[in-house]
């Protein structure tokens, strides 16, 4: 298996795991079911998810639904890259999309840590998966950029 395929499979795995966790958070929100999550002074999913930041501004749509959409689109992009591995526009689109995800994650971590003062364990799992996805997209993008290639 080529290194490129390994990178794409890693991205797909991160995307699928992220989609599953975001989907779980969205389902729990929709069903108003209790969340499986430890509650301490610092780690408290319920406190984070029941805060005004638990839904998208001006709506009743949970923030995790944005995660579902982001991971779903990410998986579509990875799927397209499996079919067109040499496509430079797709490669750039993937890294740009991943960067957008990472910036959103940093904003959400800021909200959790600074504004709310509690961390949601499930959200952190999603954040780590977005970071992993970004790193894979970055490595794949740089691997094909001539200026990053070692002289042979």
């Amino acid at each position: 298996m080529t290194r490129d395929r390994v990178l794409l499979l890693t991205a797909a795995a991160s995307g699928a795991a992220g989609l599953a966790v975001s989907g779980y958070l969205t389902a729990v929100h929709s069903a108003s079911a209790p969340l499986v999550c430890p509650a301490t002074a610092t780690v408290d999913c319920e406190r984070v998810l029941s805060s005004p930041y638990g839904v998208l501004p001006g709506s009743a749509v949970p923030t995790s639904a944005a995660g579902v959409a982001w991971f779903a689109i990410s998986l579509v992009l990875v799927g397209l890259l499996f079919r067109h591995p040499a496509s430079a526009p797709l490669r750039r689109l993937l890294v740009g999309w991943a960067a957008l995800g990472l910036i959103s994650v940093l904003y959400l971590v800021f909200i959790e840590v600074v504004v709310i003062g509690a961390i949601c364990a499930w959200c952190t799992a999603v954040h780590v998966l977005v970071l992993a996805f970004f790193l894979v997209a970055l490595v794949r993008w740089l691997s094909f950029e001539p200026k990053w290639q070692s002289p042979t």
Binding site: D4, A41, R83, Q149
Partner: protein, 283 residues
Amino acid sequence: MAQPKRRRRPDSRRPPPSPPAQPGVLVPVIVTLAGVVLLVSAFFVYRALTLKPAPPPPSQTSTASLIAEITAIPDSELARVGAGTADQSNVKRANDPPLRGPDGKPEVLYIGGEFCPYCAAQRWPIIIALSRFGTFSGLQPASSSSTDAFPNTPTFTFRSVSFQSSYLDLVALEVRDRNGDPLQTMTSEQRALLAKYTQNTIPFVDFGNSYVLSGPNYSPQVLAGRSWQQVAATLKDPSSPQAKAILGSAAVLTALTCQITGGQPAATCSLPAIRSLGDSLPR
């Protein structure tokens, strides 16, 4: 004449030659990881540096006089402010069978948490409104979490409250303490109501299953940086932002409560300002 060579379009479906392992690629990855770790650490440091300690609660004597003051605000003050700056968009019509309290009277159900700044803000108008229908005991000064939004919002906790009234029963639950640890437990029926009408957000107030209130009627920002005594003092000036928010919300809550007590007590419920607010409620 030599035919010019036709350039083949690169086939994007063709697997690209696997790029060689490049040590140069590792540098941006490490820089990204270090940047993320540094930024998140900076968030924690900023949080720790900007945390304010909890304000000292008022003494027992001050507490007693404060409670006496806010539970005796005359109807005329509520009428003068009307809805003030109260946000009424969180008032919803409920459609469940009437909620009856332990004494068989219409029940007002409050579900909140001591850590929660929005609950802290909402308790002021709840106390002022329900004082028109009965007498509170067991109110204790409290402040919302130091580590949540609107830290240290001054309030009174309902954790040990009791309420005597000939018109209604109050059931009040603080589900978590100031540190966010579990405190009082909801019944499955209460949990179902919270889930049905608010998707598990607090504060939640159910007026006998006729109307529900999801969230506060005003922003805790109105109380920021003020002590209990300062908040109580501002209520004497109907033009202050605090009076407009707190008394305005109390007027809305009074109108909601009148809907389940059959318009009793008439002295309060028949006030034109309260009746007008009642008439404007969602049907």
